[in-house]
């Protein structure tokens, strides 16, 4: 009974924290338009430099841009919280609830961002995808995976000086395995026939995501204490 009550309370706290992030985003409209401008100008430079690339290059560029979008979009989530505000959250909620709300918000933000950058890619760099719907699903899977890793790294980097730069330094080696898997998975989306091995790779990626969420829940309380 008690556990059940606690469960309901922590879900409502997560929702409240999530709402707060969403509301801030809607009022300030900083991340969304900032990243949108960033993606648009990067893709424009890419178009000027190479025109409409082939499928393999297109796919490589897409994941590269996703990586940079993710760093920029997620970095804000912990940097915006000042010392005082963190102390306030510490006093009203648990560490697990706080990190879960951040993971949730960033995953949703990246879902939106990946859809937008996919649209811009198709608009400016052409559309080499034989199966667009399948690639949308893969890009969602990829962007959620990236956002989970970078959310936790943002939490680490926020504790150090020069956090924004540090996040990229910590994150890039760590996400290479994921990007490699995503690249392999999207190869399959670019092929005309569905090939074997897709299910296995998606399972590994999802397993990795579960592991990252679990580690964030376990380790974040230690980062939080000061």
């Amino acid at each position: 009974m008690r556990a059940n009550f606690n469960g309901i309370r922590s879900v409502s706290q997560i929702i409240a924290l999530f709402k707060k992030d969403l509301l801030l985003e809607i009022r300030q409209q900083y991340t969304f338009y900032g990243v949108l401008l960033y993606v648009a100008s990067t893709i424009f430079v890419l178009y000027l430099a190479m025109g409409e690339p082939e499928g393999v290059v297109w796919k490589g560029l897409f994941w590269m841009i996703q990586l940079f979008v993710c760093v920029n979009a997620v970095a804000k989530s912990f940097l915006q919280e000042g010392r005082g505000r963190l102390l306030y959250f510490y006093s009203i909620t648990g560490a697990a609830n706080f990190i879960l709300s951040k993971l949730l918000f960033n995953a949703l933000l990246m879902l939106l961002m990946s859809l937008l950058s996919l649209g811009l890619f198709v608009l400016m760099l052409g559309d080499p995808m034989p199966e667009p719907a399948r690639f949308v699903l893969i890009s969602w899977l990829g962007s959620v995976s990236l956002s989970l890793v970078f959310t936790f790294l943002a939490a680490i980097a926020a504790r150090a000086q020069q956090s924004a730069a540090l996040m990229a330094i910590l994150g890039f080696p760590l996400v290479i395995p994921q990007l490699l898997l995503l690249n392999k998975i999207s190869n399959i989306a670019f092929a005309d026939v569905l090939q074997g091995g897709l299910g296995w790779m998606v399972a590994v990626l999802l397993g990795l995501d579960v592991m990252i969420v679990a580690l964030s829940l376990i380790l974040f309380p230690f980062l939080w204490k000061d």
């Binding site: 680490i156 150090a160 000086q161 540090l166 760590l174 290479i176 490699l180």
Partner: protein, 223 residues
């Protein structure tokens, strides 16, 4: 004296055994590999050593988080550095081997790349440490990162290498070793000699460095 240092003597004996039998012992004649197969005792043993050192490092990081004892942080750091040293040696011995079997020191093989990435993850650990000046915060944040990095090491060097094609032996199943290539006599050098010998040497180097760090720490606290 003997009770404390028996493992150092064992380490020297094992390494002498490994090097003597590694260079003089019998090896099966394999095409392409030829005599380079002897590198097994050095190259593969380095990765075993690296994994052991990284594992000890992460154990000390977990201990630090539960005890807040700064000595544990020094242990974690030095074991991670030892692991990085062994990883670098593994890459170097591997690329020398690759030069004579695959034709180039570096051929962008997925397993070469992922091993290099695994080392980059640990270089990031050292950079993260250096980015903070507050001792307590530095220890705690880098312990958290160390645990996270160790968990990410498994997909990088154990899971994904099994899923991609590579020049490296041991395609499906074991990511690094193809046990059909070596015979009983090589096994007798590799498992009892090379793997524990090099690992003990790594631990020895690390314990020396830890003693040095603890002395430096002590000197600082007495100033």
């Amino acid at each position: 004296m003997l009770r404390q240092n028996w493992w150092k003597i064992l380490c020297v004996i094992l390494l002498v055994y490994t090097i003597l039998f590694g260079f003089l012992g019998h090896v099966p004649a394999k095409p392409i590999l030829n005599e380079t197969i002897r590198n097994l005792y050095f190259h593969v043993a380095m990765w075993f050593g690296m994994m052991v050192l990284f594992t000890v490092s992460v154990v000390y990081s977990i201990l630090y988080l539960s005890s807040n004892n700064p000595v544990h942080d020094i242990y974690a750091l030095e074991y991670a550095k030892g692991g990085i040293l062994f990883g670098c040696l593994g890459l170097v011995t591997g690329s020398i081997w690759a030069r004579f079997t695959w034709g180039a020191f570096w051929s962008n093989d997925p397993k070469q790349l992922l091993a290099a990435i695994a080392l980059l993850i640990y270089f990031a650990y050292l950079i993260l440490r250096n980015s903070m000046t507050d001792m307590d915060k530095r220890s705690r944040v880098s312990a958290v990162y160390n645990i996270f990095a160790y968990a990410m090491l498994f997909p990088t060097i154990f899971i994904i290498p099994r899923m991609v094609e590579s020049l490296h032996p041991g395609g499906m199943g074991n990511p690094a070793l193809d046990t059909h290539d070596i015979d009983g006599r090589m096994r007798m050098v590799f498992w009892p000699g090379a793997v524990p010998g090099w690992t003990l040497l790594g631990v020895w180097i690390v314990t020396l460095r830890i003693r040095l760090q603890l002395l430096a720490e002590k000197k600082l606290s007495h100033v």
